[in-house]
């Protein structure tokens, strides 16, 4: 592989290839054509007269379409290429590739063009964990096409490869013996179609496919608010976010074709409760329809039974849904898997926030049952210790998730001295979400469900939770909230970014907010780019540890929102400035996480090695930061605008913000001086 990986995607179908457009995957390497969590092509290699090609350039035309310009010869020095080759590839129910060969010579060229194709039909989990296959492979030549197939009992997946020009087809690929006239060209269209149960429903007639996707993207961009800003990079970041969010939308066949955000490329192109909810919250002021789909789809899949393998309870919102072989044979619990402790309260938070922005009471009425079931889950199923808090402990000990909060890696929840607590665990932000869910549920009960008594009860519970929380989680000596409580009710006392989510939830006593903010913007947590997941000085702190020291843009967007909620507008602007500055270094596309090194030390944000990109909630981050900086807040049928912007941004306008008010504009001018900003900003 000669250079960068090239990704073309549309929802949960994507192609990852080298910069020639070739795919040569090993079991553990995430290149190939993937659909529904299965690799449908692991080899796709183009040769001309047995020679591989060299990349001249790659043009990303759209997120779903790329063009590769190639020449024969594999050395670093070209031997006066008389041929050029163009591969134009668009994702569509597999992919569609137009292969064009141009002959620049004065005489005709006789060429043997070969495409080698193969598939290992690996489940994405197998790619991630390097597992072996249990079924049988069989390739067939059918009417001039090649079908790569895989079967394990009733499980059947296949890839159909066909071309518009006649080819010699064998079980390993297609060969074209052709003649290209002098100064002429030869072209063929190649179609690679994925086949499995229910997949056909996504298929559109050929030709209409691309136009539909283009029109769809145009519509998406046209309906989002427009930005005008003195600071050019912010415009670029904003537009990048909108396009990436469009790319990450996916319409699983089982949800009837409506789209919601998938979590991120390459591992998480599927429905995730937590990620879909957070992303929908971030995007609400821009594309409220994402929230509507997320609420409806997650509501339909809401847990109704006790199922230990899936960690399912009645009322619980799903964690992750998968379509691959391991899920099909129940070797993995993702059909769907419910082991997550935050999506359920966040579901109610999103429902309320959605209504506040859109005024869509019908959806809130339609989802009353689901919202009540979610609220009931908090008290009836999540309080594993009977102490009035949300606790988590997996019942599926083999393949379930240990940490069921957003920081879900094994070492993310620790005491300051580095020890890991036992299970169950009650992490702090979960209690904040529960508080917010009850408060917002109370509002909905009164305003929409016509049940003021239920509203009173929820508010009473919320007040009680807040009182206990501020007593039990508060680390008196250092004045912040502990990361969690352990089984004995003792504080898991590491200082972590979770404190910011607590501000967002509103559970923090006003009298404690100032101290919390001092920590969030203090040297142990704030790197200059953003708030670290874990504070410097904690035993497990590592600036490139996944959840123990890196900076997560999504995390910071909610922290900034929390700072605004408690009136710390300048501090919110400081975080927004840091993250948006970082975005500039990634050409407007924020990665999932970057290193928690001091900004002064590295001068640029160091990307976390295996971070997903694009990733939905990183993509949504600039949107939420815009909302936060402009101080956008629905109040009845009006939108309040209260801008506090970092100085470097200059003038900022956000035009045609959709909501229950119709469309309104917001304006602001930067005034908050942020230390370290000017000095390190790339010109």
């Amino acid at each position: 592989m000669s250079g960068e990986l090239v990704k073309v995607l549309d929802g949960n179908i994507f192609v990852v290839s080298d910069d020639c457009g070739d795919i040569e995957a090993s079991l553990t390497d995430p290149t190939g054509l993937f659909a529904y969590d299965t690799r449908f092509l692991s080899k796709w290699v183009l040769t001309i007269d047995d020679q591989r090609l060299n990349a001249l350039s790659v043009d990303d035309l759209q997120y779903f379409e790329t063009r590769f310009f190639l020449v024969p010869g594999t050395g670093t020095v070209y031997i006066d290429a008389k041929l050029s080759v163009i591969r134009q590839r668009a994702v569509a129910n597999g992919f569609h590739e137009v292969l064009t060969i141009l002959n620049h010579a004065e005489k005709p060229a006789r060429l043997r063009v070969r495409i080698e194709a193969a598939s290992d039909f690996a489940d994405l989990f197998e790619v991630k964990d390097a597992l072996e296959k249990k079924g049988k492979y069989a390739n067939h030549v059918v009417k001039g096409s090649l079908r790569l197939g895989y079967e394990r009992k009733t499980f059947k997946r296949s890839t159909l490869i066909s071309s518009s020009q006649r080819a010699k087809v064998d079980s390993d690929g297609l060969t074209f013996d052709l003649r290209v006239p002098a100064h002429g060209e030869w072209t063929t269209e190649l179609d690679v179609v994925v086949e499995g149960p229910g997949y056909g429903e996504l298929e559109l007639p050929k030709g209409r496919r691309r136009r539909t996707m283009e029109a769809n993207l145009d519509r998406w961009l046209a309906s989002a608010p427009r930005i005008a800003c003195d600071w050019e990079p912010l415009k670029r970041t904003y537009n990048r976010s909108l396009v990436d969010l469009a790319a990450l939308r996916f319409a699983p066949p089982i949800t009837g074709g409506r789209s919601l955000p998938a979590a991120g490329l390459p591992w998480f192109m599927t429905m995730f409760g937590r990620d879909s909810i957070f992303t929908s919250l971030q995007a609400l002021p821009f594309t409220p329809e994402l929230a509507a789909t997320t609420l409806t789809a997650l509501g339909e899949w809401q847990g109704t039974r006790l199922d230990d393998f899936r960690d399912e309870d009645p009322g619980r919102i799903l964690h992750e849904l998968r379509y691959g072989e391991l899920t099909a044979f129940e070797e993995r619990p993702h059909s769907p898997y419910y082991g997550c402790a935050d999506a359920t309260p966040l579901y109610v938070v999103l429902l309320d926030e959605y209504e506040r922005w859109t005024g869509d009471r019908k959806l809130v009425r339609d989802l009353e049952y689901e919202a009540r079931a979610a609220l009931a889950w908090i008290d009836d199923y999540a309080d594993l210790q009977g102490t009035g808090y949300i606790w988590y402990q997996r019942r599926n000990e083999e393949t379930g998730l240990e940490n069921q909060c957003w920081k879900d890696s094994w070492d993310s929840i620790s005491y300051g001295d580095g020890r890991l607590p036992g299970f169950p665990r009650a992490t702090c932000e979960l209690q904040g979400y529960a508080y917010d869910a009850k408060m917002r549920g109370a509002r909905l009960a009164r305003a929409v469900w016509n049940d003021p008594a239920f509203g009173d009860e929820l508010e009473r519970q919320a007040a009680d939770l807040k009182r206990r929380f501020n007593r039990d989680f508060w680390v008196e000596d250092d004045e912040y909230f502990a990361l969690a409580l352990d089984v004995e009710g003792k504080q898991v006392d590491a200082l972590a970014s979770n404190n910011g989510h607590l501000l967002w939830s509103g559970i923090v006593d006003r009298s404690k907010a100032k101290a919390v903010v001092r920590h969030l913007l203090g040297p142990r947590l704030f790197s200059g780019w953003g708030v670290r997941t874990l504070a410097e000085g904690e035993t497990r702190f590592n600036p490139i540890g996944y959840h123990v020291g890196t900076v997560w843009p999504f995390d910071n967007s909610f922290i900034a929102w929390g700072l605004r909620r408690y009136g710390f507008k300048d501090e919110a602007a400081t975080i927004a400035a840091g993250i948006l500055d970082a975005a500039e270094f990634f050409d407007g596309r924020l990665p999932e996480a970057f290193g928690g090194y001091e900004r002064e030390q590295t001068k640029y944000p160091v990307q976390y090695p295996t971070a997903c990109s694009p990733q939905a909630w990183s993509t949504g981050t600039p949107l939420l930061l815009l909302r936060t900086m402009l101080g956008l807040e629905p109040l009845g049928d009006h939108l309040v605008v209260d801008p506090v912007l970092p100085a470097g941004i200059g003038h900022l306008e956000l035009l045609d913000i959709p909501g229950r008010w119709g469309r309104v504009d917001a304006f602001g001018r930067g005034r908050v001086e942020v230390a370290s900003r000017r000095a390190t900003r790339r010109r």
Partner: protein, 110 residues
């Protein structure tokens, strides 16, 4: 029919309102294959009201499964979505109905 599927239909025939299906409307046609012959049932849901009818008819979603497998599904022992993914049961039409329909089945623990 004395297996789990039969019990399910009996149970559904006896209740009229299933709150879990308050938002659902649609007809699910079940084709249960295997000895002694293919049986067809329809479950008609109208905003939580459930009716069971025997025999074919118009439907929004058709589910075809071996009777024994369906009985295990109706008893909460087999997950419907996983079974669709591995091709053990086939569905045609609106797949959302399957998700909602699964709410009628008990869980593995009950």
């Amino acid at each position: 029919m004395t297996d789990g599927a039969g019990e399910l239909f009996e149970r559904l025939g006896a209740v009229e309102q299933v709150p879990l299906l308050k938002q659902a409307s649609g007809t699910m046609l079940l084709e249960l294959t295997g000895a002694p012959r293919t049986e067809r049932w329809r479950i008609i849901v109208d905003k939580g009201e459930v009716q069971v009818a025997r025999g074919p008819g118009p439907a929004d979603c058709m589910l075809r499964a071996d009777r024994k497998l369906f009985a295990r599904m109706a008893a909460g022992k087999v997950n419907a979505f996983a079974a669709v993914l591995r091709g053990a049961i086939k569905i045609e039409g609106d797949p959302r109905l399957l998700v909602l329909f699964q709410r009628l089945f008990p869980g593995p623990r009950s």
